[in-house]
């Protein structure tokens, strides 16, 4: 039985340094953080403060120099490559500023990519991708190439792709960074409504004050440390 009060994500004295010796740069200087299931969190801070670095460590895309990231009490430094990739594949959804859709694939194919990686049958992944596309209101574009879509539509496909594996946590790094403010607002509304509906933990890295205020909690990072 999962304890609902137990944080889904936790860090302890998280340090991350890049480079060696004289070039050594400490991007994160001891981050302690606990995030509950279903919570929405905004990570804000100046450029270069370490927001993306923190997100990458939380998502297991990178390894900390010191300290630990725990997923429901399981330290990901202890996991092997197979376990970490499996964690990302089944429990995590990503939304990027640059969308990262594959231009030569159709909207449907882009959407079911995580399921294809997971080895889900063609029939099932198509069915699930259609449901996900329906939830972002893009079902009618299923067979279009990703290249043919507008920026807002692309980000909606990315959201559908992030949702398709029914993730516990969605990481969004500047999801509105490449969108005009009106489209950005729509994307945010969509993201929050889907997050509430599916009780997903949402971690957004952003510069956008309005977006940050919509989250349950704001974490401000400066110079590799949490200051608020």
């Amino acid at each position: 039985m999962k304890n609902p009060d137990q944080p889904i994500l936790k860090t302890a004295k998280l340090h991350k340094s890049y480079g060696k010796k004289t070039n050594r740069f400490e991007a994160l200087k001891g981050i302690d953080l606990a995030i509950s299931r279903g919570e929405s969190i905004a990570i804000i801070g100046k450029s270069g403060s370490g927001k993306s670095t923190l997100m990458h460590l939380l998502a297991g895309l990178d390894k900390p120099t010191n300290g630990n990231v725990y997923w429901s009490d399981q330290s990901i430094s202890r996991m092997n490559e197979k376990q970490i990739t499996n964690l990302r594949n089944t429990k995590v959804g990503f939304i990027f500023q640059q969308f990262f859709l594959q231009p030569t694939l159709t909207v449907l194919e882009n959407t079911y990519l995580p399921l294809k990686i997971a080895g889900i049958s063609s029939h099932n992944r198509k069915k699930l991708a259609k449901e996900a596309l329906k939830s972002v209101d893009l079902l009618d574009k299923s067979d279009n190439l990703a290249n043919d879509l507008s920026g807002g539509q692309r980000q909606r496909v990315a959201i559908a792709r992030a949702l398709i594996n029914n993730p516990e946590v969605i990481f969004a790094d500047e999801p509105t960074g490449n969108l005009d403010s009106e489209t950005g607002k729509q994307i945010i509304e969509l993201l929050f409504s889907l997050q509430k509906k599916n009780n997903i933990t949402l971690i957004i890295v952003t510069h956008d004050e309005d977006l940050a205020k919509k989250c349950d909690r704001i974490i401000k990072i400066s110079d590799g440390k949490i200051i608020k």
Binding site: H56, A59, L61, D62, E81, K82, T85, N86, L87, R88, N89, T90, V92, F94, F96, F100, Q102, T104, L113, P114, K116, I117, A118, G119, S121, S122, R161
Partner: protein, 429 residues
Amino acid sequence: MRTLDYISTAQTNLLRTKVRTFLTILAFVIGTFTLAMVTAFSQGLRSYVNTQLSAYGQPNAIIVSLGSASNQTGPNGIPYYQPNRQSTITASGPRGDKKTASYTLNQSDLTKIKAVPGIIAAYPDYVTLAIDYAQYGNLPKYIMDVQGAYPTESIALAAGSFPTISQSTGIVIPYTYIQAFGANSASQALGRTINIQVTSSANQPKIYKAVITGVLPNTAHQPGAYLANQLMSSMVQYQTGTTSQFTNIIALANTNVTKAQRLSLKTAIQAKGYRATTYDDIIANFNQPLSVVSAGLTGFAAIALLAATIGIINTLLMAVLERTQEIGLLKALGMRRKGITFIYLVEAASIGFWGGIIGVLLAALVGYVANPILNRTIFTGIGSAHLLTYPLVYMAGIIVGAMIIGLLAGTLPAIRAGKLDPIEALRHE
């Protein structure tokens, strides 16, 4: 990902850069096509040569000649000279010319060879018999080479059969003599009696009658006519005055003798102080240069394939570079290092596969077009057989080999792709 997804993803990826993929495959096709043609040619030539040779020797016959006494030989197996084993007889040949022959074997040798276990019969080989002419009815007189026919002769004839023991005057004529003996076809020639003139050492001509029992196959080079052993003996007796001396002995084993058994028979005969030449020696004589030539041609094909391999490496390195961001995404979305590597390996193997298939099919097409032409022009007399043959196993081998070469070439780029760091890859422009 599922295996089928890997394969279809690889094909889709290859189609993303159509021209580049096409050129890479084309480079491969040059190699596999050459290889397939070399194989087709050398396989075809081998069977062509074997067909031709089958008119000359039979697998169960061993040609025996004098060697060193008591199995002693000089360096490299050269026999020592044995005094008192030579006698010379001069016989009249066609047009009155004289033929001188040295005889080294006699009846006691024949007895010894017959005694070798596994040898079921042995006959003198009168290689020196020279007839004056052969003639059918009032048709012109023709020169003809003759040789003895031994029981169990296994050449597949165009018509008829080899003379049996009771057909003591039988003859098997070369295919090219059909018209010379007034017939229009091989089967029409059967049963005709021809006259053969032999001149004795005392210059006295004599006519022998021979009945055609068979016609040799239509091979490119025709051996002489085969005479029934008895007829041959009496002609030799008349011409040289003796049948008790000869140069060679034909020793016969069972018709179903294996290659290994032929070798041990050869050894047994050699141990008695003779030299022995088996069917395999004759074949090897022809096949050896053939093998050398095909090995050389295969070498050229290998060089072409090597160049194509570099093409694959290059193509895939470029693909990995171009798709760095995509690789980063796949990793972020939970694809393992192995999986990424595998995608690129499958892509490399696919290039090899398509290169192999296309090369082999092109080669088969060339054969389809060229074989009938070759049969009509240069390589006549092989019937419906083809000079260019494409054994399925070899062709499949070429395709599989091409895939393996592709895989090997793809290893470096594929491993490199697998090793990419997801964050850096995603940041890559």
